[in-house]
Symmetry: C2
Subunit: 240 residues, 2 copies
DNA sequence: GGCAATTTGTTCGTATGTATT
DNA sequence: AAATACATACGAACAAATTGC
């Protein structure tokens, strides 16, 4: 079903992770891979481009494609260290608590964020994330009721995005995230185990559908000592 | 000199920023752009791919390529809001102060970070960034002496990376950044105007050369209220 | 619902340019 | 200087999604 270049991309990742090619060494040349997978050069180049974009290899003209030390880039090469991975890494019990779930008319602020009119309702979901008995992340999310007609507690306890993509068959296109640090507010104190910290890391997220319409505005509020964001960049714009 | 697809990419950005295509509307189809620029489809598709990766457009199969509201993604679509841009945005005076510059043998920690042996010296640079009379960013950087033989105060007052790329002709390949939040240390208190804050946002940066060797390890320490990081993502991995 | 036209996605082939060894 | 490896560019064909008739 999938495109050839994507399945080759996954096969190459598998080989890299198995350690078939050692870090710092080269993967076979494009010509060699063409023969190995019996595809055209175009297809191989697309696979390699994906590997490069995701931080697995570094291509150098005239030399070859070098394996990078992805092991050192512990998991998601770019992105927030998610709750799931965080707990998996620590190897402790993790839990999602649905603190609030309601369908309501949007406030002025949310109306501005989600760019909706007065008639549209929105789903407001508040969830806290517990690791090792302590609530360390507070997620507030607002979904455009135009696209998400129904939400249940059960869905919120699992993955809302699975539900949106698989059950509702909506195609998520892209997202914008913004990381800032703020002083704690009332809700943070109410829902989180702050252990004396008076600041939280706030990740504002805007999730758009395929067609450019805004599906979700969310705020993820993290206890500062449990927060980590990793970015892998190919083009570097240095500060001054 | 440059590739066609790159110059077309820049031309299209220019047109988008001029507002020739309005937000939410489509840019001309690939076929149309082929004729307009008198190039092959392959070339146009490469240009469009760059536009998509950098958050200018959203491509939808069967429909076309839609202009995104880049104006709302104020400046670098992905990346740290740099000191330069921060000050430009605020429209205030900005200043770089070189607090320390020395060539020395690495400490154990730096030796581990830069992966160097006992013989190699490293350049240690400490710079603070002042906006509107207040020091809000503290940059500590360590350069592998093997690649950077000479550094001067003058270079540090300007752009070290310009010097590395243009004067030393080293090719920077990629970088890894890691954002965490920490309690202030002595140096933060010594060099920064913290205004009562007791935490800083720490951006750890590892900059690699083309061939995969590590050039720089840096720590950028920001006053929490002046920090902002923006991320534009096409593939979204949702937390749980 | 079906069909044709349009638009982007995937794959193949070929040729030439540029950097490295 | 020659061989190797990646980069750019062109052309062609078919697939898949969308839109309008």
């Amino acid at each position: 079903m999938n495109a050839k270049y994507i399945s080759i991309y996954h096969k190459l990742i598998e080989q890299i992770e198995k350690g078939i090619y050692s870090v710092g060494s080269k993967i076979p040349s494009e010509k060699c891979l063409m023969e190995q997978f019996d595809v055209s050069r175009d297809t191989i180049r697309k696979s390699l481009q994906m590997l490069e974009q995701n931080g697995y290899i570094n291509k150098v003209k005239g030399k070859g494609s070098f394996i990078l030390d992805t092991a050192k880039f512990n998991f998601p090469v770019t992105g927030l260290i998610s709750f799931k991975e965080l707990s998996a890494q620590i190897g402790r019990t993790a839990e999602t608590i649905v603190e609030k779930l309601e369908l309501k008319k949007p406030s002025k602020f949310i109306k501005e964020q989600l760019l909706i009119d007065d008639e549209t309702s929105i789903w407001k979901v508040i969830r806290s994330r517990k690791i090792d008995g302590k609530k360390i992340i507070l997620d507030k999310e607002y979904y455009n009721g135009k696209y998400v007609e129904k939400l249940s507690r059960e869905i919120c306890e699992g993955s809302i995005f699975d539900y949106i993509e698989n059950t509702l068959s909506l195609n998520i296109g892209f997202a914008k995230k913004e990381i800032v640090v703020q002083t704690c507010n009332e809700d943070d104190r109410k829902y989180l185990d702050l252990d004396g910290y008076d600041m939280v890391v706030v990740v504002n997220t805007f999730v758009y559908l395929d067609d450019g319409s805004l599906l979700q505005y969310g705020q993820s509020r993290h206890r500062p000592d449990k927060f980590k964001f990793v970015d892998f960049a190919r083009r570097i714009q240095q500060n001054i």
